[in-house]
Subunit: 203 residues, 2 copies
DNA sequence: TATTCTAGAATGAACGTTCTACCCGTGCTA
DNA sequence: TAGCACGGGTAGAACGTTCATTCTAGAATA
């Protein structure tokens, strides 16, 4: 990775510095996107929120679109990480129930929902974002099916497809339900989803 | 309603004219919103698409936000209309299956999905839009539960809630699945959803 | 001293909105 | 019936603001 010859301290600190700056921008940008949407969030606003000048942001990102892509990528990475942890368990049923509860909480979180919906809406009209989202879906879906195989009883490929699609739809749908009805009781929903997942997985 | 005294011909034609103009703007705006999002669609673009001047749009809508609200309202009215038709059937099972097929096709339509996602994303950050969306959800959900009562076997209120929420989530989730995976086969999905709805309704 | 980091002004385009003026059908006046 | 004043529908220029992006130059660091 490191292409420069140099003292063991300066180079990493310099790149670490850059990494921190980048993260600063992405955090601020995510907050602005949540609040105003991709197009409503101006570079000026992001610069104010990140505590650096507008011009400086262009040292780390070529343009606004690149910031959007980085935010989407971040979100994708987070999902894949959760799937990885789920697959590494030794107690399938218990871990699954914990994961379901966590996922429900996540999907009902207004901030999370706002950002995810913004990403999906952008994907529906921006080919570059759509490509990222679709690549992510393929990976998460493959990972989910693998997880289903590991956790549940043996079943046909078609059955697994059904199961995976149903799960995906139910959790994505939960996100929109949270927006449509903020009075939804998280505990009731969690129990309902745990019941449903148990039945789908034949646990 | 009509406060003016006048020949029976001039007044209605004037208001009809205005209605046509309004519809022209709303159609153009919906297309622009789909393509560019609420904030990406400028008044200039909407005026070009609707074939009238930018300034003239302000004779029919106070500002851009009011256009957005009208579009949301239109979409809401369309949903309530579908529900109404479903409730008026005399052959529950057959009509339900037809409606499911239609709903699946609708949710997988990229244009429809783009607009609905845009609305949901805006609702997640704009209190006025959220209010419209939530009022619509309450009405559609009440109508859905009433429909479930009419169609299926007798069941508890809690059970009906579960059922309605599951249905809503599955169909909203289908919309996002269409965005995430455009290769989804509509017929396979339709069959899966018909199976699922049958089982949920205990038909 | 040389290089990298950083702020902030500058740029030109695009934004939402308002303003001005014209067109044209209608009804009043003579 | 001829001429005229009126008013709504309409286009387009104009306004001030904000946008994304680039440029310039100073500050910090090595």
């Amino acid at each position: 990775m490191s292409s420069m010859i140099g003292p063991a301290e300066t180079e990493p600190s310099a790149s670490a510095r850059a990494e921190i700056r980048r993260a600063q921008i992405l955090d601020a940008a995510a907050a602005c996107f949540r609040e105003h949407g991709f197009h409503g969030a101006s570079i000026a606003r992001i610069s104010r929120a990140s505590g650096m000048s507008a011009g400086h942001i262009y040292h780390y990102f070529r343009n606004k679109e690149e910031i959007i892509e980085a935010i989407v990528e971040q979100d994708v990475a987070r999902i894949l990480d959760v799937h990885g942890r789920l697959r590494a368990t030794t107690d399938p049923e218990a871990t699954t129930m914990v994961c379901v509860a966590e996922a429900v909480r996540n999907m009902l979180d207004p901030d999370m929902a706002a950002l995810k919906l913004e990403i999906l809406a952008e994907a529906a009209r921006n080919a570059r974002i759509a490509k990222l989202v679709r690549a992510a879906d393929q990976r998460t879906r493959a990972s989910l099916i693998e997880t289903l195989c590991a956790l549940g009883k043996a079943r046909s490929a078609e059955d697994l497809d059904d199961c995976a699609d149903s799960l995906c739809a139910m959790f994505d749908g939960l996100m929109t339900r949270g927006v449509r009805n903020p009075d939804l009781d998280a505990d009731t929903v969690t129990r309902r989803y745990q019941r449903m997942v148990k039945s789908l997985l034949q646990l």
